[in-house]
């Protein structure tokens, strides 16, 4: 019993104390996830809008590729990026392996298709009617696109948040291309894995709690947004 109290005390100490490494790990995680989510959104959302609102010959084919990419196993994405960035790979001279940049790249590969797919789904529901009404008013294609984006703006925010939540939870790909290097590429998920392997459960639990809280916050935000969008 005493030991359990010690453990709990140590966890609280880590959570509310000034452990610099804990905070540094959280910092790297937030930086990496924010960057990954933003870039994926910048690429994925416009692509999703186009996919969801226009008809073109190869659409079925593109959709199939998209769904395959959406189901890409993270470790495979990590492996591909690793092979590209390693010394013996085509981009080896950039020396990007085991950096935050490499992790962001791997995450972009994983998250962009998800954002594109989600956006295309959202847009395809509203787009046909908006398109018809806007065309009937006399608006040009570019204007119509802008209005579609505007009308779906709330859901785009929730898509962005979903991407962020995905980025923060990623372990496999990020471990492979980041290397979990202390003070450089160690993020919450890889740190939890490592600390558990080493038997340092207090640190792992503290990190786990932080990760849970963040994930919980993101998910409740997304729910809030979805609900208000549903009512609007």
């Amino acid at each position: 019993m005493a030991k359990t109290m010690d453990v709990i005390r140590e966890i609280f100490g880590l959570l509310f104390g000034q452990d610099p490494e804990l905070r540094q790990i959280i910092g790297v995680t937030l930086r990496m996830s924010t960057l990954s989510a933003l870039v994926s959104a910048l690429v994925g959302i416009p692509l999703g809008v186009i996919l969801g609102s226009t008809e073109f010959k190869a659409k079925r084919f593109v959709n199939r590729i998209l769904h395959t990419l959406m189901g890409l196993p993270p470790v495979v994405a990590g492996l591909i990026v690793f092979l590209f960035l390693s010394r013996s790979g085509p981009l080896g001279t950039l020396k990007l392996l085991f950096t935050v940049t490499a992790m962001v790249i791997a995450q972009i590969v994983l998250i962009t298709p998800i954002m594109t797919g989600l956006t295309a789904n959202i847009v395809s529901v509203k787009a046909p009617l908006i398109h018809e009404t806007a065309a009937g008013i006399g608006l040009r294609p570019f204007q119509r696109m802008l209005y579609i984006i505007y009308e779906c703006r709330v859901q785009f925010v929730s898509t962005l948040l979903t991407g962020f939540g995905r980025a923060i939870a990623e372990v496999g790909a990020v471990q492979m291309v980041g290397g979990n290097v202390q003070f450089k590429t160690r993020v919450m998920t890889t740190a939890i894995m490592m600390q558990t392997n080493m038997g340092h459960f207090e640190f792992a639990i503290a990190l786990g709690i932080v990760l849970l809280v963040i994930a919980f916050l993101i998910n409740s935000l997304v729910s809030r947004i979805q609900e208000s969008a549903g009512l609007a």
Partner: protein, 272 residues
Amino acid sequence: MKKLCVVLIMGVLILSLTACATKIENPVIRLSTTTSVNDSGLMAYLQPVFEKDTGYTLEITSAGTGAAIEKGRTGDADVLLVHAKASEEEFINEGFGEVRVPFMYNFFVIVGPEGDPAGVNGSATAAEAFKKIAEAGATFISRGDDSGTHKAELKIWKSLELDPTGQPWYVSVGDSMGKTLTVGNEMQGYVFTDKATFLAHENTLSLLLEETDDMKNTYSMIAITSQRYADTNYAGAQAFIEWMTSEKAADLIAKYGIEEYGEQLFFILAAK
């Protein structure tokens, strides 16, 4: 007809009971060892012979030294095979094991980029090599996972009164020897590793320093005491230790690596 069935069933039951009586009571031995031992391939080499000779089944798990020893504390292992003397003695003092049985040793080595920018090759001791690396600010990749290898590395830094933590050239990955070597290959940095894992791994790094006094690495076995957990296989652990310290095992261990790498990887400690 019914009577015949009853007799047959009784006969089968009796036979199986007697068969059980001649078998080992608990045939599964849970061995907790380190990733270095696992990565070297030694256990995979010895396991089939041990199992055939004794009839026991070996369940091997590997982790960093800290976690491997922890398994002994939580009752998840019957016998440990590790190489961290201080941690082992602490474990014994806490009462989880009765005695440590050192039985073999090998050497750590320092590997690094072919060009050897810090001039490690030719150093008299590992400490001297480490000093050169620190002074040159050459990239050094550490396991950083509290393993036996890591603790040995830290001991050397401590002897120099140098703390490399946080230095830009010091890369701590918190992972196994194999993984650390992979990072070393990528970054072309120096790595403090055991020779067996290095040879078993695909490398672009070169062997720069070996067999100095301060790089000797001793392996011990500890049987977990039967006093703490009801299901600890103490008999199995003893059987394992006995076999591992037998002449046959000594012979096998000494031969390991010669055919594949051209040299002996593990050395037997002279029996007391």
